[in-house]
Amino acid sequence: MTSAPSARIRRWLEPLASLRLALWCMGLSLILVFWGTMAQVHLGTYNAQKIFFNSFVVFQNVAGWNCPVFPGGLTIGLLWLINLLAAFVVRFRLHGGKFGLFVSHAGLVLLLAGQLLTQLYTIETQMPIQIGQSLNYSESYRETELVLIDRGHSEYDEVTRVPISRVQKKGTIVFPRLPFELRVREFYPNAQLSMNSSNPPSEMRGIGSKIQVEPQPVATHEDDVNNVTAVLEVIDQGQSQGVWLVSSGLGAPQGFNAAGRTYEIAIRPRRNYTPFTLTLKEFHHDVYPGTDIPKNFSSLVQLGNPDTNEWRDALIYMNHPLRYQGKTFYQASFGNNDTLSIFQVVENPFAVSPYIACAMVLIGLAIHFLVMMVRFLRRSA
């Protein structure tokens, strides 16, 4: 070994730490943010975010081919993070009037890292809750699940949940704890369902015999809802027990018998269960006098947690969410003549990182710019 390892690492890190690379990162971010913003007109915020900002590569349809055309938000963010970290090893110094820059760039590292982790690990769900109702789960906005419910127990219901991705793969689904199998005949990510009583006689059981299914392209705008639909055959010891149409577009679950027990089957929004329950006691929707302009929405809920023996009221209103056990409940919407309140439920373990990061960036910038201004004024005086 002729040169010290630190010198070799430095030589290796130097191009990674260059200001030129930082400029590239900023330039690429500028293009990506602008493009991703414009794309929201047609894609909606959710999908644009998925395609442009929460991806490693942006794919675009070029003459029928799905081509990689631009680095995605995660790639640029990671590259920038590497650039900054390398710069801390190679370039940034604490002394020589550079203290402010050091702090602000350290804050930037934390900000980028926090945002990357947030985008990868945040779970957003919603909780629509009627006045008087108690819920111990929230629902996914877009993801669905197939459930089989056995209500035959006196103390509890036994719920078997199948991720929709498993249904999408088709084939036969085998359950370790259920006496039957499900064969997926058809799967449609989105379908239009219409009543049609003049259907030709078919093997379809339940409501499915009266419904016509028309496959639809997957809806991309966030206001549009996908009716996730599947045609399932229940097989009990090799014997077909009938074919069932299940869809998130159908309201109530359907029932069937297998191995002497009754089961309910349905596709519904994927649920996240919580160890506590929320009961909606009151909901208020205030408007400015003489107008329909909303002034405030507020929900009075009771929080019940048998584990911690907590039973207390909480008020959730505009800009004042309820934070409890890593979940935050926000007043998001309402419905049913003001008897239904909808909370947005967010779980983000990295929620605090931007607060610290931003404080660092701002303090660093303030110090640096003040130092520069004092120098300038002294020189010109």
């Binding site: 200001l19 400029l23 947030t118 408007v287 002034k295 926000y330 929620a351 931007p354 004024l377």
Partner: protein
């Protein structure tokens, strides 16, 4: 700049402009002895807040007609005079060409020919009312951002016609004579009375009668108040006053009109004195139009700076300084008055953001002038002041500029911190961009512009850009924190958030590029000018996308102007590129 004898004329110019502002405080004269200005000051509840009738009149006329005054064949009506006819003499009002219809397809539907100006009377629309309603109903089924120009125009016309008819039935059933007698008539007529009053209560555009209620004062419309007191209408004093005013106006009886008005003022003094005072303040604010006044003065100041460069005279520069100072005082008083009337921080909607961006730019421009003393700060301050006032003036036509804040925005804390910081960031970025434009254009036109002055200008741009970076970052972050508090995510890639982020990124890009050394001089100025494009996109462009939680609404006319602004900035950059190229080849 030659040092010449200081002359007195700049101060005379400033004095004249100050008189021009002060003169607007005077009550306008009317050719009738009716106390029209007192009527204009009556407080009403409309759009969720208490405002003078004058504001209702101005905003309604602006929405229907596009201006705050109306020319009739015989004379020019003020907004309140027009509204009085709308409220009390409906048949007369129907002969005023106060409905603006630009779209030729809509005119086709109405069987009307195009004319200049494109103003039509309600009477002309009469036969087509049903058709308009049907067509608008069909158009409304299409999502707002996907509507064709015809569909947008027909929906707009229907909205305007609804407002028109609501106004006409707010104070009395359209064209009923002797309304006061009608409501005081004996009981045999009650079903008939109820029918009319129910309709009025249902469609009333504003509530002008304060009634004592257990929880304080409840504002009711004329129809509602008379319904409550039916059979004993003497108790509906405020509503009856309006009925009498209307009857008097229809019979051209100024004495009776003023007597009824005094009765209403007396009732207000007893029930809602605070509201009456507030409405009077707003009436004065409407009359003075401080932002229009500062628009004119800023323009004059900018012209004087150019003059000072051409004449190389410090007199002109002093005049410009004085004028910008005067305009800033008027601007500040206007801004503060708005804040007091609304009880809000300065920026609550797109209109007020224009007012505030202008104000902050002017203040920063004057600070620069104080440091550098080279008339650059004054020039840029007056130019941005003038331009933002024009933007604000055009934004005002979309309705009440002091509308109430929707639920999630109803927080003075975040409006005062996030919104103010972001708009200061906009202001500083514009200031840097406009300074850079001055630098580029001046060095293109004036070949002997000293290199030292050019360098000085670049230092100014750099300093302002640092300031801009700090505030746009701070504002963007505070927005993130607000979003985290109210929607549960710090960052959601919402268009308005992205717009703010673009400014931060662009400013950071420019500062780092300068550090790299390759982009000193003209190239750095080009980046600063491009910052104008980024900022205008963030300020206006994202609102035109029609998506996102922050959007203020779709505005197509503004889009053309935004495009024109972007093209002008690209042209400036092109000039700089050309200069940069020649300076290197020589």
């Amino acid at each position: 700049m030659k040092n010449q004898k200081l002359s007195r004329w700049p101060w005379i110019v400033v004095g004249v402009m100050a008189l021009y502002v002060l003169a607007s405080f005077l009550k306008p004269a009317h050719d009738t002895s009716m106390a029209i200005e007192d009527f204009a000051a009556l407080p009403v509840l409309n759009g969720g807040r208490i405002k003078p009738i004058d504001t209702v009149a101005r905003v309604s006329l602006l929405m229907l007609h596009g201006k705050q005054t109306l020319k009739t064949p015989t004379r020019k009506l003020s907004a309140t005079e027009w509204l009085m006819d709308m409220l009390f003499r409906q048949q007369q009002a129907n002969t005023y060409a106060c409905l603006r219809v630009d779209n030729p397809d809509v005119l086709g539907l109405l069987h009307l020919e195009q004319r200049r100006p494109p103003l039509y009377t309600f009477a002309e629309m009469g036969p087509a009312l049903a058709a308009i309603e049907t067509q608008a109903g069909q158009a409304e089924e299409v999502k707002a951002e996907l509507r064709t120009p015809y569909q947008r125009a027909i929906v707009q016309l229907q909205t305007n016609l609804i407002l028109y008819q609501k106004l006409q039935n707010t104070a009395r059933p359209a064209d009923m004579d002797r309304f006061a007698d009608f409501v005081s008539a004996p009981h045999s007529d009650e079903a008939h009375q109820r029918e009319h009053l129910h309709f009025m209560a249902h469609v009333a555009e504003f509530a002008c009668v304060p009634e004592r209620a257990p929880e304080g004062v409840k504002w009711t419309s004329v129809g509602e108040s008379l319904l409550t007191h039916l059979g004993n209408t003497a108790n509906a004093r405020g509503a009856l006053a309006f009925a009498r005013m209307g009857d008097a106006l229809r019979q051209f009886d100024p004495v009776e009109f003023n007597a009824a008005l005094t009765q209403q003022q007396e009732w207000l003094r007893q029930t809602a004195p605070g509201e009456a005072r507030l409405a009077k303040k707003e009436l004065l604010f409407n009359r003075v139009q401080p932002f229009m006044k500062s628009l004119v003065i800023y323009l004059l100041a900018a012209l004087l700076v150019f003059g000072s460069w051409l004449r190389r005279s410090s007199n002109w520069a002093r005049g410009a300084m004085g004028l910008v100072g005067l305009a800033l005082v008027v601007h500040t008083v206007g801004l503060l008055t708005r804040m007091i009337l609304q009880g809000r921080p300065p920026v609550t909607n797109l209109y007020s953001s224009a007012i505030f961006i202008g104000w902050a730019s002017v203040v920063m421009g004057l600070v620069l002038e104080r440091i550098h003393r080279n008339t650059m700060g004054v020039l840029v301050a007056s130019t941005i002041g003038f331009l933002t006032m024009i933007v604000a003036h055009n934004l005002a036509s979309s309705g009440d500029t002091m509308e109430m804040m929707r639920a999630v925005l109803d927080t003075n804390f975040w409006l005062a911190t996030h919104v103010v910081c972001v708009t200061i960031g906009y202001s500083a970025t514009f200031l840097a961009g406009f300074l850079a434009i001055v630098g580029i254009v001046r060095s293109a036109l004036q070949k002997d512009w000293p290199a030292l002055d050019q360098q000085k200008l670049q230092t100014m741009v750099f300093g302002v850009l640092c300031f801009a970076t700090f505030f746009s970052f701070l504002g963007t972050i505070l927005g993130g924190i607000w979003a985290d508090q109210s929607w549960g995510r710090f960052w959601g890639w919402d268009p308005k958030e992205n717009g703010a982020l673009l400014i931060v990124l662009w400013n950071a890009f420019a500062l780092h590029a300068r550090k790299l050394g390759a982009t000193r001089g003209q190239k750095f100025l080009m980046l600063a000018v491009a910052g104008n494009i980024v900022t205008s996109f963030s300020w206006f462009g994202v609102n035109m996308l029609g998506v996102g939680l922050h959007s203020y609404g779709f505005m197509e006319k503004a889009f053309v102007w935004l495009l024109a602004f972007v093209v002008s900035q690209v042209a400036v950059i092109a000039v700089a590129v050309k200069q940069d190229y020649f300076s290197r080849t020589n």
